[in-house]
Every structure is written in structure tokens, then in C-alpha cells.
């Protein structure tokens, strides 16, 4: 706030330039402060799952019509199907548009625009499109009662837009190194040829909403965000991306949605969202604040639901910095960390997180509960191992030294509540064995920059909770700048490369687990937890499951509806 004058007896008649200067300084300071204070959304990433949350379904008969009001904390960045980034964007976009396939809570593909697909050879994918899938009508491009079918030409146009570097599509760099060519075989058959056998093509195509060739020709590839015309179950009615996005039922959709309206309400403060649920102003809250969960789950009017699959959170060593390049040191530090007791202190409800023993979360192919045996908590032994490497407390100040150098380093965490708590607790546990750990919490953008530059000694991070996640966490040639540990292991690279080229799911899972074991043996990360963001759902909402890979409101196995009250 600006100059507040308390109790001055004269009119505050400071020279105007002075006031203006003060005002402008305040504005500049606000910007600078906001840079430091804002809590940016977590890495999240899409999550997939195999263990669906089974809902106790009321025996009421499904009702048609009505509106579902969903509260989300994050502003929707864009509805542009080629340029969306965040989960929140995807959740809205997949109501309006359809990719060839989507994935359910079990991680299985659900046919959307493609009804079936096959591999005549490992490099060729043939997709057969749905008969009777139509573009939404009643807009600038397709007037009312137009029956424009979705054809192979639309799919080819969309994929070529993604593959053209000029369009700067979000998935350009990921797909351009995989796909060799896309071709329409006939009106309803598309052939995609890959450069090398690639196991995750379906998952990737599951992130590409198909756009209409006619719309692209009419408005241009750069303007798609302003003309959200898709083939999905709902049409866009009104969009105010940081306030409210209203969708209405697409009556031409091949599964008739029971909901007449879906309203995404952006409520940035999670405790306000919880109050909105309790007062009946919204029907679903996608992210409940942890402290409200015990209260809301005790309330008979609501159900608290966890998604089928969690998001992986971890603490990593920067192996570019000594002494973390030494496996023996990493093993010793791992022994000094008691993750279970840390989680008890961080999360007020068990539904929010479970301890992680490896980087693949439950619900993702390759999840391995057996990895728990590879971790032991033993601070005594940790001290012994550190002493064996020459780190002893010779001057009795409680901190270990070697060659006159103290074992002190910084553990850097992003400033979200859970991960920064994890850092503080783990730092305390490490202090107990004689390590001098300073915790530094950083704003998201600064944290990312430090990680990319390889500056943190140890850091808390999260992500990669997808079927292809290990590639971008641990493969030395593919690793993301956000997960920059400096880990480089030829055997791991080989296993991951081989898995990436293995389209057979069972064989790939074995390779994935083998790689994961090696990664755990190498103590690249101290796995922290799998986080499950809990949703709060009013009991009069039926058939609803929290978003896992995306929010599925209308699918062969569900059609969300609300009981009239």
C-alpha cells in the first residue's frame, strides 16, 4: 500500500512528483515482490493409472440435463489445442476436442476419434476413424445443422501442423523426432509411420486434439485458440480463462452427454473453494486443501476422492558436485533419511500421499512395490559409511569434516507447501548424522532455472509420472532440464532405449522394472512420495471420477449426471 498518513494535522500536500514517484515505486516493488512470492503450479504432468477409484454408486436413476460446476485453482492458459501446456488446459480442451484416443484410470486407451488401430509392422500404425464423428455445428465455420464428418484429412492436417516447426506446437519437438510420415489411406483410415519402433506413440497421440482442416484453412493455424471448434461432447459457450469457462452439451455427439452444461469455475484460493463446495456454490472441487480433508470427508454430503495414480516427488543429488558423485556417500545419506515419518508430519490425511520407493508411481506400468526392500533407515550405519569415506567429526562441533572441509551443502526446494516441508524435515534428519544442510526454498521459475543450470547441491523436485517418465528423468540423452541430476549410466540408457522401442507391453514392463532397479541401486534420487491430489465431490453428482490422465465426463463406461435438488 501507499503512503498512509496517520494523525498528521496538515493536509498531505507532498509535491506531486514525489507522490507519483512513490506510487510508481510501489508498482515496481509489487511486481518484484510478486516474482518472489507467487507460488507457481507444481510440475504435475499428466498422470495415468490402473487402479480406478470405485464409486459407491447411488441407486438413483440417471437424470438428464442440469449443470455441473467444477472449481479449479489454476487459470486456464489457453484453449488452443496445439499450444496448451498445463493439465487444467487439457482438462477443458478434451471436453471440446477429441484426440484419436484417450486413456482411462486403468491406463488403457479408450477409442475416441479412432475406433481401432493396428501395427502391420513395428513402424507402421494404421488408425480407423469413427463413422459418424462430426464437427460441432453452430459456429463461424460450420453453421447450424451442418453435418461435417471428421475424416482422415483432418487427422493428417492436425499432425502435420504439429510436425511443422513454424507452428511451434507444444508437442513439436517430441513428435518430430519420432514420426516419419502421416498419410490418409482413405476417407476414414490414417497411416502413421515412425522413424524407429516407438512404444509410446498412442500416449503421445492421446495428447493431440484433432482439429478440423476446414477450420484451419478458414482461420489459420495461429488462431485456433479463438475458434475452439472440436468434435467432443461439449461445445464452448463462454470463456473467461481466469474466471469461468462454460460449456454446453453437443447434441450431435455419438454418446449423448447427460449434463446440459459444464462450468469450470476458477477459484485460486483452495480454502475458499472448499467453502464454495460446502455452501453449494460449486459441485466439485478438483483440489481440496489438505487441512480441510478430514472435515470434508466426515461430512455426509460429500465424497473425497483420490485419483487412480499419484505424482512422483523426489529429492535428488546433483552428481556434478562432489561429494555427491560418490555412490557410497549417496548410499550413506539415503540411510539417514526416514521418509515415512516425514510424510506423517507433512500430510494430514493418508489419502494424500504414500511413500515412494522408486520413480514409477502405482498405476503406471512398471510400478514395483518390491523396491521397498532396497531402502533401509539406519542413521548409525549412515555415520559409519560416512566415516569410512573419511568424513568424521574431528573438532566435535557436530558437523563432519574431511581434509579440513566441512560437509555443508544446500538443499533447494520449490516453495510449494508440501515439498518445502519435505526439504526442512529431511535436512533435520541429515543434521542428526552430522551434515550441515541449509534449506533454500525458491519460487518456481527460479527453481527451474537453478536446476537447468545444475546449480543446486541437492534438490526437491517432482514429475515424470507418466508411462514414458523414466526417459525424461534418467536417460542421459533425453533427460529434461527440470530433472538435471548429472546421472549418466550406459546400462540404464540401453535398457530405456530398448523399452522405448518395445511395443509389446509385457516385455516393456520388464525392461522398465529392470531399469528402475538399477536407478534405485545407483541412488540417483531419494524417492519421496507419490502425491494424490484429492477432489471433493457432492453426493448428488454421479459417475464422477477425479482427473487422472484427463477429466473424463463422458466415456463408454460413464456419463456424469447430477440429481435434481
Amino acid at each position: 500500500m501507499l503512503t498512509k498518513r496517520h494523525g498528521s494535522s496538515r493536509a498531505p500536500r507532498a509535491p506531486l512528483s514525489g507522490r507519483v514517484l512513490a506510487g510508481l515505486t510501489a508498482i515496481a516493488l509489487t511486481v518484484a515482490l510478486a516474482a518472489v512470492l507467487t507460488v507457481a503450479p507444481g510440475t504435475g504432468g499428466m498422470v495415468y493409472g490402473t487402479t480406478g477409484t470405485v464409486l459407491a454408486e447411488a441407486k438413483a436413476r440417471p437424470q438428464d440435463g442440469g449443470a455441473l460446476k467444477i472449481a479449479m485453482p489454476y487459470t486456464v492458459g489457453t484453449l488452443d489445442p496445439l499450444h496448451f501446456m498445463a493439465d487444467a488446459d487439457f482438462h477443458v480442451i478434451t471436453q471440446i476436442y477429441e484426440p484419436l484416443v484417450l486413456f482411462n484410470e486403468e491406463g488403457n486407451p479408450i477409442p475416441r476419434l479412432a475406433t481401432s488401430w493396428r501395427n502391420p509392422d513395428p513402424n507402421t500404425w494404421v488408425f480407423h476413424l469413427r463413422k459418424g464423428a462430426r464437427w460441432q455445428a453452430g459456429n463461424e465455420v460450420f453453421p447450424k445443422r451442418t453435418k461435417a464428418e471428421v475424416t482422415a484429412a483432418d487427422v493428417v492436417t492436425t499432425l502435420n501442423l504439429v510436425l511443422n516447426p513454424d507452428n511451434k506446437a507444444t508437442f513439436y519437438s517430441k513428435l518430430a523426432r519420432v514420426i516419419k510420415s502421416v498419410e490418409a489411406v482413405d476417407k476414414r483410415t490414417v497411416k502413421v509411420v515412425t522413424q524407429a519402433p516407438y512404444a509410446f506413440l498412442l500416449e503421445d497421440l492421446g495428447h493431440i486434439p484433432i482439429v478440423s482442416k476446414q477450420v484451419v484453412e478458414r482461420v489459420g493455424a495461429g488462431q485456433l485458440g479463438r475458434y475452439p471448434i472440436g468434435s467432443g461432447p461439449f461445445k464452448l459457450l463462454e470463456s473467461r480463462p481466469d474466471n469461468q469457462i462454460t460449456l454446453s452439451r453437443n447434441d450431435d455427439y455419438y454418446l449423448k452427454p447427460r449434463l446440459a452444461r459444464v462450468i469450470f469455475q476458477i477459484i485460486p484460493d483452495k480454502s475458499v473453494a472448499a467453502m464454495a463446495l460446502e455452501s453449494g456454490d460449486v459441485d466439485v472441487v478438483t483440489q481440496l486443501p489438505p487441512l480441510e480433508i478430514p472435515r470434508i470427508s466426515a461430512d455426509k454430503r460429500f465424497t473425497v476422492m483420490a485419483p487412480a495414480s499419484g505424482s512422483y516427488r523426489y529429492i535428488a543429488f546433483n552428481q556434478r558436485k562432489a561429494p555427491f558423485d560418490d555412490l557410497k556417500i549417496r548410499e550413506a545419506i539415503a540411510m539417514a533419511v526416514d521418509i515415512k515419518s516425514a510424510l506423517k508430519a507433512i500430510f494430514p490425511a493418508e489419502s494424500l500421499a504414500q511413500p515412494a520407493w522408486g520413480p514409477v508411481p502405482p498405476g503406471i506400468p512398471g510400478y514395483d512395490p518390491g523396491l521397498q526392500k532396497m531402502w533401509t533407515y539406519n542413521p548409525e550405519k549412515a555415520r559409519e559409511l560416512l566415516a569410512a569415506q573419511g568424513w568424521v567429526d574431528a573438532d566435535k562441533d557436530g558437523i563432519l569434516e574431511k581434509d579440513g572441509r566441512k560437509f555443508s551443502f544446500v538443499l533447494q526446494a520449490p516453495n510449494d507447501a508440501n515439498r518445502s516441508k519435505l526439504a526442512v524435515i529431511v535436512a533435520d534428519q541429515l543434521k542428526a548424522v552430522g551434515l550441515d544442510v541449509k534449506v533454500k526454498t525458491e519460487e518456481w521459475g527460479m527453481h527451474l532455472q537453478d536446476l537447468a543450470a545444475g546449480q543446486a547441491d541437492m534438490f526437491v523436485m517432482g514429475g515424470g509420472s507418466t508411462p514414458d517418465g523414466l526417459l525424461y528423468l534418467f536417460h542421459s540423452g533425453l533427460v529434461s532440464r527440470d530433472h538435471n541430476t548429472g546421472f549418466r549410466n550406459a546400462e540404464v540408457d540401453q535398457l530405456l532405449d530398448k523399452a522405448k522401442a518395445t511395443t509389446d507391453a509385457a516385455a516393456r514392463k520388464k525392461l522398465w522394472q529392470e531399469a528402475q532397479r538399477l536407478i534405485v541401486e545407483n541412488r540417483v534420487h531419494l524417492p519421496g512420495y507419490y502425491e494424490f491430489v484429492n477432489a471433493g465431490v457432492a453426493k448428488y453428482v454421479h459417475d464422477f471420477k477425479p482427473a487422472n490422465y484427463t477429466l473424463l465426463l463422458v466415456a463408454p463406461d460413464r456419463n456424469v449426471w447430477v440429481e435434481k435438488r
Partner: protein, 318 residues
């Protein structure tokens, strides 16, 4: 007088230019890369290093700072504030869309805080050594100390959840509809006005205390003028200048967006636009929103100066 006005306008131009340069360089010097932040939310593996570099180059971020700034100034002269890096929308459209909610809230909060300030200011000065004056004093001290985020959550809890009288969030996007729009407006406007209202009460109290001891007030009393008339005809008029100054500063600040209140009440105004922009390092949007806030602040202060001239004839001859 005309020359003074022209001089002021020129000063404002210089101030805006300096602000534009300061913000332009500050946002680029703050650590954090816009595309890195954007892609951190995308699916794993999307956006490799080469692709990020090409995005940087396309946005012109690889050029030297001064060259970038010169380009930006050229754009500004054409009335072009650039395009948001995150949504791809023109910045001017984004600001336009967030302006209505912000002005609605700022206007309502200004009226409420003026009302509260004058009411409590009078109560404080007239109620000295009386129980209701002491009560008003306690209320004002409490209000000065109340953080707006806490006050907002508390008000939502009481009126939205427990009593159920008012909605818990939001702004009515579908135009100004009675009674929905005012029902949504009450709580955020009240929250935003509590603090300035209390400060204004103190300001009026202290000004009145001086004025009421002036000779002309004593003369007025002496010739038999009643308290109400003394206040309205003589005393309050002389406290108008500080009130106008204060109101201008407050409204000028509100017009740039009220970050905390907008966040607590899910109010899609300029404050949240700016905070989101900073978190995403959406350079063009930060610059545009800040310049707008600065320009609004300057313009409102300029209007306040013109009002001084209307209120105080002495100033016209300076």
C-alpha cells in the same frame, strides 16, 4: 495555469517512459525463463533445448536488451502492447477483459471507504471521551491492523458459508445483472475498503481536530451557528483536500488491481492478471499490465490535481 497543466502532462510522459524501461529491464533480469516455466507444466519430454531456443529467438529474447527495448518502444508508439507469451492473445485485449471487474471493485471500495472514513472520522472527533467514541476508536484500530486476506476469508466463512446470504466467490461475467452482481460485489468491496476506510477515519479525525480549533470556527460558534452547520459549512470543507488526495491515491492503487482481495474472492481483475503474468514470466503481459497501472495512477492523480483547483481557489493563483 495552462502551462502548468502542459508541464504536468510532460512530466507524466517522462514518468511513464521511465517506468516502461524500468519494468522492461527488471522482468528480464529476474531469474526464471518464461518457456522453461511453461513447459514445466507440459507432458514430460515436450519441448527440448533446441525447441526452447527457437521459441526464444521467435520472441526476440536472444537480442541485446536495448535492441529489444527499442523494438518495444516502436510497438508502443503504434499502440501495440504485444502478445502474451502464454495465451497468445494481444495484451491489450487481456487488459481490457480484466478492466471491468477491477474498476467495478475499485469504485465500490472507494465509495465504501469514503463513507466509512467520514462516518468514523466524525465519530472519532465528536465522540472524544464518550463511550461510543472510544468504541469507534477501537473499531478503527482493529480495522487498520486487519490483514485483508484474513478479513476476506473470515467474511466468506460468516456470510457465504455459515449464514449463506452471499456467494462465496466470483464475479458475474454475464453483464451487470440485478441482484446477482451487487451480491457478488459486497464482500470483496467491503474487504478492500476496510483498511483505507480506517486510515481515512484517522486522517479526517486529525484534520478536524486542528480545524475545529481555528478562530473562524470559534467565531462561528460564537455567532450562534449549530454544530451540524459548523461541520458542513466550515470544518468539513477544509478537510476536503486531504480526503481527495487520499481517495486519489487509493483509487489509483485499486485501479491497477488488488492482488490479495482478487485472489481470495476469485475476482478476475488486473491484480490477478499481473500476478499470473509474473509467475509465468509473461514479459509482454507484465509490461503491459504495469504500464497500464502506472498510467491509471498518473491519470487519477492528475484528475485529483484538477479537483484541488476546483476546491481551493487559492491554488489557482499559484
Amino acid at each position: 495555469m495552462q502551462t502548468a497543466v502542459i508541464k504536468r502532462l510532460a512530466e507524466m510522459g517522462v514518468a511513464l517512459l521511465s517506468l516502461s524501461f524500468a519494468i522492461f529491464s527488471v522482468v528480464r533480469l529476474v531469474p526464471g525463463d518464461p518457456f522453461q516455466i511453461l513447459f514445466s507444466g507440459a507432458a514430460p519430454g515436450a519441448g527440448d533445448a533446441g525447441f526452447l531456443q527457437s521459441l526464444h529467438n521467435a520472441a526476440g529474447l536472444d537480442r541485446p536488451l536495448l535492441v529489444q527495448y527499442a523494438g518495444y518502444l516502436g510497438q508502443l508508439l503504434h499502440g501495440n502492447l504485444g502478445v502474451s507469451l502464454r495465451s497468445g492473445e494481444p495484451v491489450i485485449l487481456l487488459i481490457g477483459r480484466h478492466l471491468a471487474p477491477t474498476l467495478e471493485l475499485a469504485g465500490a471500495a472507494l465509495i465504501l471507504s469514503l463513507g466509512m472514513g467520514i462516518f468514523f472520522g466524525l465519530a472519532l472527533s465528536l465522540g472524544r471521551k464518550r463511550w461510543w467514541g472510544e468504541l469507534a476508536g477501537a473499531a478503527v484500530s482493529f480495522a487498520v491492523a486487519l490483514p485483508s486476506a484474513g478479513a476476506g476469508i473470515l467474511l466468506i466463512y460468516i456470510f457465504g458459508l455459515q449464514l449463506g446470504w452471499l456467494p462465496t466467490f466470483g464475479w458475474v461475467a454475464q453483464g451487470w445483472s440485478w441482484p446477482e452482481a451487487p451480491r457478488h460485489l459486497i464482500l470483496p468491496a467491503l474487504t478492500l475498503s476496510i483498511h483505507p476506510g480506517a486510515v481515512l477515519a484517522r486522517l479526517i479525525e486529525s484534520n478536524l481536530a486542528t480545524v475545529l480549533e481555528e478562530d473562524y470556527v470559534r467565531t462561528a460558534y460564537a455567532k450562534g451557528v449549530g454544530l451540524v452547520r459548523v461541520l458542513t459549512r466550515h470544518a468539513l470543507k477544509n478537510t476536503a483536500l486531504p480526503v481527495v488526495t487520499f481517495a486519489a491515491l487509493e483509487f489509483g492503487t485499486f485501479a491497477g488491481g488488488a492482488v490479495v482481495v482478487e485472489t481470495v474472492f476469485s475476482w478476475p481483475g488486473l491484480g490477478r492478471l499481473l500476478v499470473d503474468a509474473v509467475a509465468n514470466r509473461d514479459y509482454a503481459l507484465i509490461q503491459g499490465a504495469t504500464l497500464f497501472a502506472g498510467a491509471a495512477f498518473l491519470a487519477i492523480n492528475f484528475c485529483a490535481d484538477l479537483m484541488y483547483l476546483a476546491l481551493d481557489p487559492r491554488l489557482r493563483y499559484e
